[in-house]
Symmetry: C2
Subunit: 361 residues, 2 copies
């Protein structure tokens, strides 16, 4: 019987309660698919600051190193927002994990589920046009990590600077990830850049073109980031895979997530070249609704499915979870934010949604 | 009688035909307000490349230097897209003009006009919530112009880099522009940054806070760029003035423009500290519809109104044009893109819209 080990980092806010449901689903997968998914919980984020003095304690990092994958909840909240930037949960834990494990390949799917179109902030005809985008974001380079970064000078001429930087190698590996994904989808990559202004973007475009030669079955387009934010609003169904640098991917993936109107359904994967990955919901820690049992666990559960698919090669189990989620949505077992305001009293709780998904499995 | 001189750079695509209507309106303003608006036309963009060999001929630059303001049409098109980047219309003409005249303060208003809500790609309730945003974008610094920029190294480790850079002085002057604008509007500035990642953004936030102390009647908020692109979709009515760096302003202003669904109505102003400015429509040269007499001239006409207000201190004339535009929209004299597809046969032509605005004046 195959056996895997998972570092479970639930974190802050709604993290722990949605992670409980993901664990239920993973228990069910163990039985149904005859695998062992050993899970060990580690502190991270604000909770780790409060209990261990830092957002990413060394035992947590060590636990992640020994695991086959990290299942991540969410971190941060107003309580830790006044800390110096470098100690805050987002930077000290999330950016450090990304960089430590070289998790360069970030997959963020965003789709509008049939029947849930009215949640989208977009006009009905646009929301119903068949929106299903995968943002492939480079996650360990670009202006997030480029050196030098700093402050210099005196008085009013004092200035701050950041460096946007990409090597051919870094662009090539994320471009390959995008083309591979597009082959399994609708065969189209749209590369997002600002090649009319940035030297980095020109190299980005050059390498995207080079890589595309190895994928004759995939179509490649280029779009400027400013136009991309417009087209996502006007006609999101035109996009299949969007290939983005770190900063542009941050922007594009959030706009795509919001466009669906159902952030609580969106998972994400951040992987390295060895298939090791961190899997987390697209939404944040939502401190305003934490602890009330009303948060949607689906993004966390679909993140677990991505983990099974990409880090454990358990595509069947991942498929089964994804089908169970669709069945649960179709059965109308929905948390409140997915319901029109006059139907909120019929909302299912976090654990009811988890239970239904297990049942559908 | 006061007298002003205007360099008229109509450019490519729909530029010349919409400029014709702006000129009609300025003729009417001369009579009604007893001013002289001397206009001289100069070649720019692709047209200048074809006729003079470069996108910004020296006689054009000289003409701009001698004028009180530049009224700009639009430039670029597929014909010139294969030129080396540095020679292309957008960079060689537009970015050069911005930097040559230190046009650091870019104002891009975006509003949804009552009655035109159905054009917006946003859901009806959002489009009807009273959307009226002014994006104040820094236009002569940041990653567009920061040095160094380049390429280095060999093989797969060859890398490209750009520098994002802001001095306190540069941030302060654009922040002041945003607060001044907010005082005349609804008293709220939302500063857009990525202060959880960028050193430049931290300085940006610091100076925005400093400047806000001089404007106790204006409220200041900060928002991350990724969240900004979400909030513009979800609840654009929350924004009054959005204060942005060059790159983030490029993205935010285009998303705001698209959100209105009526790009052909949106003007923009780019000004320096002496009140000299370049005024241009938010949309592009639209080569696909050029020469057919169907382009909407309103963005060009409202750009002329901004010019009268900001570079010539003719607020009354600007008000009058803006009122005439609203009256024209209310009278239903609309170009095709503002009409539902089944009513396009009743569309007014470019010159009919111009004539109606003159009449309403
Ligand atoms: C928390 C922040 C640093 C992070 C990012 O910008 O990458 C977040 O916005 C994300 O997209 O995962
Ligand atoms: C043409 C391009 C260089 C320009 C920019 O990025 O500033 C345009 O997108 C704009 O917003 O005016």
């Amino acid at each position: 019987m195959s056996q895997y080990s998972i570092a479970v980092l639930a974190g802050d806010g709604i993290g722990p309660e949605v992670m409980r449901e993901a664990n239920k689903v993973l228990d069910a997968v163990e039985k149904k698919f005859n695998v062992t998914l050993n899970r060990t919980a580690y502190p991270v984020g604000g909770y780790a600051i409060d209990t261990e003095g830092e957002a990413l304690p060394s035992k947590t990092l060590l636990g992640c190193e020994q695991a086959d994958a990290i299942l991540f909840g969410s971190i941060g909240g107003p309580k830790w927002d006044t800390l110096p930037l470098e100690q805050r949960p987002e930077r000290a834990a999330l950016l450090t994990l990304r960089s430590h494990f070289d998790l360069f390949s970030n997959l963020r799917p965003a789709r509008i589920y049939p029947g849930l179109e009215s949640l989208s902030p977009l006009r009905e005809d646009i929301a119903k046009s068949g929106v299903d985008v995968l943002v492939v974001r480079e996650l360990t380079s670009g202006i997030y990590f480029g050196q030098p970064k700093g402050r210099e000078g005196e008085g009013e001429e004092e200035f701050a600077y950041d460096t946007m930087r990409y090597s051919k190698r870094e662009i090539r590996r994320i471009a390959i990830a995008a083309f591979e994904a597009a082959q399994k989808r609708r065969g189209k990559v749209t590369s997002v850049d600002k090649a009319n202004v940035l030297v980095t973007s020109r190299l980005w475009r050059e390498i995207a073109e080079e890589v595309s030669k190895d994928y004759p079955d995939v179509e490649l387009d280029h779009i400027y980031i400013d136009n991309a934010t417009m087209q996502i609003m006007k006609n999101p169904a035109q996009f299949d895979v969007m290939l983005c640098s770190n900063l542009f991917g941050d922007i594009v993936s959030d706009e795509c997530a919001m466009m669906t109107g159902s952030m609580g359904l969106l998972p994400s994967a951040s992987m390295n070249e060895e298939g090791f990955g961190l899997y987390e919901p697209a939404g944040g820690s939502a401190p305003d609704i934490a602890g009330q049992g009303i948060a949607n666990p689906i993004a966390q559960i679909l993140s677990a499915a991505m983990m099974l698919r990409f880090s454990m090669n358990l595509g069947d189990a991942a498929d089964a979870i994804e089908k169970a989620v669709v069945a649960t949505l179709e059965a109308g077992v929905l948390t409140g934010e997915l319901l029109p305001s006059d139907k909120r009293s019929q909302a299912a709780s976090t654990s009811q949604v988890g239970d239904e998904i297990v049942k559908q499995l």
